[in-house]
Amino acid sequence: MSELYDPEEMMTIAAARALSDGDVCFVGIGLPSTAANLARLTKAPDVVLIYESGCIGAKPDILPLSIGDSELVETADVVVSVPEIFRYWLQGGKVDVGFLGAAQLDRYGNINTTIVGDYNAPKVRLPGAGGAPEIATNSKQVFITLKQSTRTFVDKPDFITSAGYLTGGDARARLNVPGRGPTQVFSDLGILQPDPVTKELTMTSLHPGVTPEQAIAATGWPLKIHPQATVTPAPTEIELQTLRDMKARAAQAHSRSNLRAS
């Protein structure tokens, strides 16, 4: 059974494993939220989840479709205003891990969620920054989850929405950007980590059955595979079952029609 899982499940489970119990995690919606809650329901029951809607210590039983689902409020330790979440909790230095998704990622962990093409004459207008730029800089470290393809892992993004290591090396430090930056990237093919010196994202683990060639082919820059790259342990029975149960509950809840009888 733990043989039969899809790459997205592996990606989410790998990301969940990276969270430690007690971490204070500022969670973006979508894959990051799924991974963070999987961690909470498996190895890290005391992980503290913060959503930008102001929910601190949320413990959703049903995965939220939006960062403001009632499930988050009803399970939170406390709900604060949006200015407070960004001022006291994120900028105030209370967040251990910022957990982000992305539309495009480059080799230095810089994220684009703003635009494809020219800003003033865009080919594709993406949603924009949201909380990401300050999550990326005011969290102690950043995790990123993103499916790996030449469309998403790009050589040169059209826009830097959220700072990774910028041009690499000590560029981030030179610009006095707080926070360590992206320490781990979880894709459907494996795990990438920044080279300690150049800060270039390097494949340090490949998911079971994934070849270096596949990973290189799915990357828009000449991807380096770490010489000691490991194989990601396959999902356990429990990880997989917990993840699938969560998603089933969510799918069922979110397709309910919510028209009020007025």
Binding site: V79, V124, R172, L259
Partner: protein
């Protein structure tokens, strides 16, 4: 003391063409009914302000109410793009839309500064990002004590704030509970404020995670049960997640959008009729 009045008269009297209008709501308590009334009354040249423009701003933009959008995240949460917003930005349809783009952090601080009567907000933001290259309102300021370079943004001072809340009492004291987003800041920062509410009660009592807005900071209170749909009001309704998903198909195409807006907004006289119209077999 706030007027307790109909939404149509509040919108007619308090929102003028060309106004800077902040209709806030962070997933929860989004003032959809008020947005529909603005569309029905054909308000024009509005500068729309909102951290998270979603379906209701997609509708207002698609109907040509807006000349400018000040925002920090423009999408259909958990679903994808706002197609009318994209069509306006990418193809200037139905009219060109000027955009002033921020991050959540700087926009939340700009509302906070507006509520605090300050001309600017300062924060640690935007380091290493491209946004300041395209938004001249994001400046730098130096701390006189540490020499640290911080970001300064002008405070937000809307002409009108529009929000939806759970309750108001007969004087117009407003009670919100659950996720309150930046609504309090938006109301305190604005010159005028319209609040649609689920119901009028004899007494509003503060409770866990609640915000009270005294009647003397509110211009008009308008009872509109369910007026946040497809957003929700904690304690009254649940989020229409299904509708958010269905909106993607409706808004993707200009004609289907126009047909939907005509039938479900322009041809309905108020939000009750609108909601009823959504139950028609015709609609999906």
């Amino acid at each position: 003391m706030a007027d307790i009045t109909s939404l149509s008269s509040a919108v007619a009297g308090l929102i003028h063409d060309g106004d800077k209008v902040a209709m806030e709501g962070f997933t929860h308590l989004i003032p959809h009914a008020a947005g529909h009334e603005i569309i029905r009354q054909g308000k024009k040249d509005l500068t729309l302000i909102r951290m998270t423009p979603d379906l209701i701003y997609d509708q207002m933009i698609g109907m040509g109410c807006a000349k400018k959008l000040i925002f920090s995240w423009g999408g259909n949460p958990g679903v994808g793009s706002l197609h009318r917003f994209r069509d306006a930005v990418e193809n200037a349809w139905p009219r060109p839309l000027e955009i002033e783009e921020h991050s959540h952090a700087d926009m939340a601080c700009a509302y906070d500064a507006g509520a605090a009567g300050l001309p600017l907000a300062i924060l640690r933001a935007h380091r290493g990002t491209d946004l300041p290259k395209y938004n001249a309102t994001i400046r730098e300021i130096t701390c006189p004590f540490t020499g640290e370079t911080l970001v300064a943004v002008p405070s937000l001072r809307p002409d009108v704030a529009v929000i939806h809340a759970q309750q108001a009492d007969r004087k117009g004291n407003v009670l919100i509970w659950g996720i309150s987003g930046v609504q309090k800041e938006a109301v305190l920062a604005a010159k005028r404020a319209i609040v649609t509410v689920e119901e009028i009660v004899d007494k509003v009592a503060p409770r866990a995670n609640s915000v009270i807005l005294p009647h003397w900071v509110v211009s008009a209170v308008c009872p509109v049960p369910g007026g946040a749909f497809p957003s929700y009001a904690l304690g009254y309704s649940t989020r229409g997640n299904d509708f958010y998903k269905r909106w993607d198909a409706i808004a993707r195409d200009r004609d289907s959008f126009a047909k939907w807006m005509t039938r479900h907004v322009l041809e309905t006289k108020d939000f009750a009729e609108h909601t009823a119209s959504l139950s028609e077999p015709a609609h999906v």
